[in-house]
């Protein structure tokens, strides 16, 4: 009964969602399609997803041969891991202090964090660049990592999560002999895991795909991050070879997609912020 009554709506709902999914997925499908086609098939007028002649092997080998793609991937892993680690080291104690400690400056400091959320990341780019230049750190890992280690969003996000942790848990820990730092790492960190996973995905995706900042501070191709690296694929020699370009793009996109699929459940858990209850 109920199922039949709601059938028209169910169909409508699925059509809308499917249309949305197609719009979102189309560029990726097209990307994968181009990545396996030979060059002469890419610019034909007829629209076909699968190639007449599979040329995946050449495109992917070319992508690795033309530029040090593996180097970009390694850079991406090192830099995003370093950024996320440092962000956690800063954000967790800061979030704990803002959420659970009572001190005179708690409110003004939290207001500053909120203010920080309003400032676009590009605004401090030039001061950061000048500072790094003076420190002689341009074109290095520190140049890619340092400007991002304080994430006001991370502080805000984890602070909101910490607010849901009962005060008694912290009181018990203090009586059990834990210092404030031990409380952060032993008690609050495990409690914040879902929020941390969600934040981790946002942070890694953002920095993995970041094109703007690496473009400013990186001058040698060796230091390029994945997104910047694919540009070198485009610029090499005369005319762009689209097959390898698409293959390279597919390769740098894949780790994120795979990571998200693995962490999907925890990510959604963290996003909906169902804290620890019971």
């Amino acid at each position: 009964m109920i199922a039949t009554r709601h059938l028209p709506f169910a169909v409508f709902r699925h059509v809308v969602l499917a249309a949305g999914a197609v719009v979102m997925l189309a560029p990726f499908i097209w990307l994968l399609s181009l990545a396996v086609k030979p060059a002469d098939e890419i610019f034909t007028t007829d629209l076909r997803l699968l190639p007449l002649k599979w040329d995946a092997e050449r495109n992917f080998t070319e992508a690795f041969n033309k530029v040090p793609l593996h180097r970009y991937l390694l850079n991406g892993v090192i830099v995003t891991a370093a950024i996320f680690t440092m962000q956690v080291l800063v954000a967790l104690p800061a979030a704990y202090a803002l959420a659970k400690l009572r001190f005179g400056l708690a409110k003004p400091l939290f207001a500053l964090v909120l203010l920080g959320l309003l400032i676009p990341g590009h605004v401090p780019a030039i001061p950061h660049y000048i500072m790094l230049s003076h420190a002689g750190l341009l074109n290095s890992y520190p140049a890619l990592v340092l400007p991002s280690i304080i994430s006001v969003f991370g502080i805000f996000w984890i602070r909101q999560f910490f607010r849901t942790v009962p005060d008694d848990l912290i009181h018990a820990a203090r009586l059990d002999g834990l210092s404030e730092f031990s409380i952060v790492w032993r008690i609050m960190l495990p409690a914040a895991m879902p929020a941390l996973v969600a934040f981790g995905i946002l942070s890694v995706v953002f920095h993995w795909n970041d094109y703007f900042w690496p473009l400013l501070v990186v001058t040698s191709p060796d230091m390029a991050m994945p997104a910047l690296g694919t540009v070198y694929l485009r610029n090499t020699e005369a005319g762009t070879d689209y097959g390898p370009l698409m293959a390279g793009t597919a390769i740098i996109t894949a780790p994120l997609v795979i990571a998200f699929l693995f962490a999907q459940r925890r990510f959604i858990e963290g996003m909906t912020l169902t804290g620890l209850k019971g």
Binding site: A172, R174, D176, G177, L178, I187, L276
Partner: protein, 376 residues
């Protein structure tokens, strides 16, 4: 089963402690002495400041004025972990991501090892850290056995029932043999049956540990059944500190008398007669008050000291409560005063609602209070 008490045994001294939250004064000039092995209950309605006082003793909150001493040592400047007190919380406050064994062992781990010895690899390899781990496992097991939770040591708190969690919280408190136990309504999240069993068990554990215990509750039954002494708090003040029987039989003031006892004590506005007796609504009580005639007093009579018998205060039965062991008869006298009398359940048929009965309070058990509420 429980480790032997420290040679250094101490009580707790609370000296003129005051505390305000903003404009609200939650504790005013509270002083209290707890003996070295005593079980003292802080009893009072919610919001009377009893939990705040407990938190101040633990060091989780700071007093605006006054000082706290454990034994002979003033502890006002000390952090909670330096005070060597253990606390059981109403919510149990177990660490949800640790197993029961880790929960109980954490206070020992933090005290018996240094921070570098707790680092992942060193914890397994360093001889001192390994020896500490051995003693911790042994003591955790011992505490778990004392509370019969050794079967759950590998579980997480989320997999336990309320009663089991409460035992884990107790084990975590007693495992390190602290100077004093602080308990903040530890039984209020248990169902009624479990609560009765846990009452006896906590009292027994306290006797065996031989350590002072301060127990916060709003439940007078817990206070009456478990304590050596009860400190009754109201409005941020301690009204009376006395053993349970004394606080029940000889309350220092009207508010104490009204808080302790269920059903509540009957309070009758009365006047002293010239012959020494007291006029109460609906009758006369033969009390030798020794007060001048026409003094306004309040007479307090507990339901069990008020017999249904001829020749007393006359009134109409409005309601009956048969508990099986007792029958409580609610009687309305002149001036719409309600008096509750306890009677034997067998007489229930002789006191139907609407019937006129006579109540005879026992003069020797009646309590007289002056207009300010002090007992005379």
């Amino acid at each position: 089963m429980i480790p032997a008490p420290n040679a250094f045994q101490s009580g707790v001294s609370v000296r003129s402690v005051s505390k305000s939250f903003g404009q609200t004064r939650v504790l005013s000039e509270v002083s209290l002495e707890v003996g070295p092995r005593e079980f003292l209950t802080l009893l009072g309605p919610s919001g009377c400041g009893k939990s705040t006082l407990l938190r101040i003793i633990a060091g989780l909150d700071h007093a605006d004025e006054g000082s706290i001493a454990l034994g002979n040592q003033a502890v006002d400047g000390l952090l909670p972990r330096e005070r060597d007190v253990a606390m059981v919380f109403q919510s149990y406050a177990l660490y949800p991501y640790m197993t029961v064994a880790e929960n109980i062992g954490l206070p020992l781990l933090m005290r018996r090892t240094r921070s570098w010895q707790r680092l992942p690899l060193i914890r397994r390899l360093h001889p001192v850290a390994r020896a500490a781990a051995g003693t911790i496992t042994r003591d955790v097991r011992r505490a778990a056995e004392a509370l019969q939770i050794e079967a759950f040591l590998d579980r997480k708190p989320g997999q336990l029932s309320g009663g089991q969690r409460q035992r884990v919280a107790l084990a975590r408190a007693m495992v390190r043999n602290p100077r004093v136990f602080l308990m903040d309504e530890p039984l209020s999240n248990l169902d009624a049956k479990l609560r009765v069993a846990a009452r006896a068990e906590i009292a027994e554990l306290h006797r065996r540990s031989g350590v002072a215990c301060i127990y916060v509750t709003h439940d007078q039954v817990e206070a009456m059944t478990m304590s050596d002494r009860v400190a009754l708090m109201m409005g941020g003040e301690v009204l009376q500190v006395a053993p349970p029987a004394e606080i029940y039989d000889r309350p220092a003031e009207l508010r104490v008398a009204e808080f302790i006892g269920s059903p509540k004590i009957n309070i009758l506005p009365s006047t002293v007669r010239s012959d020494g007796g007291v006029d109460v609504p609906g009758g006369v009580l033969a009390i030798r008050s020794g007060l001048p005639a026409n003094t306004a007093v309040s007479v307090g009579v507990r339901p069990e000291h008020c017999d249904v018998a001829d020749g007393g205060i006359r009134g109409t039965v409005r309601h009956r409560e048969n508990l099986g062991s007792d029958l409580f008869v609610h009687v309305e006298t002149v001036g719409e005063h309600r008096i509750i009398a306890r009677a034997a359940p067998e007489i229930i048929d002789s006191v139907p609602p609407g019937a006129t009965v006579s109540l005879r309070p026992r003069p020797d058990r009646a309590l007289l209070f002056d207009r300010a509420g002090r007992r005379l």
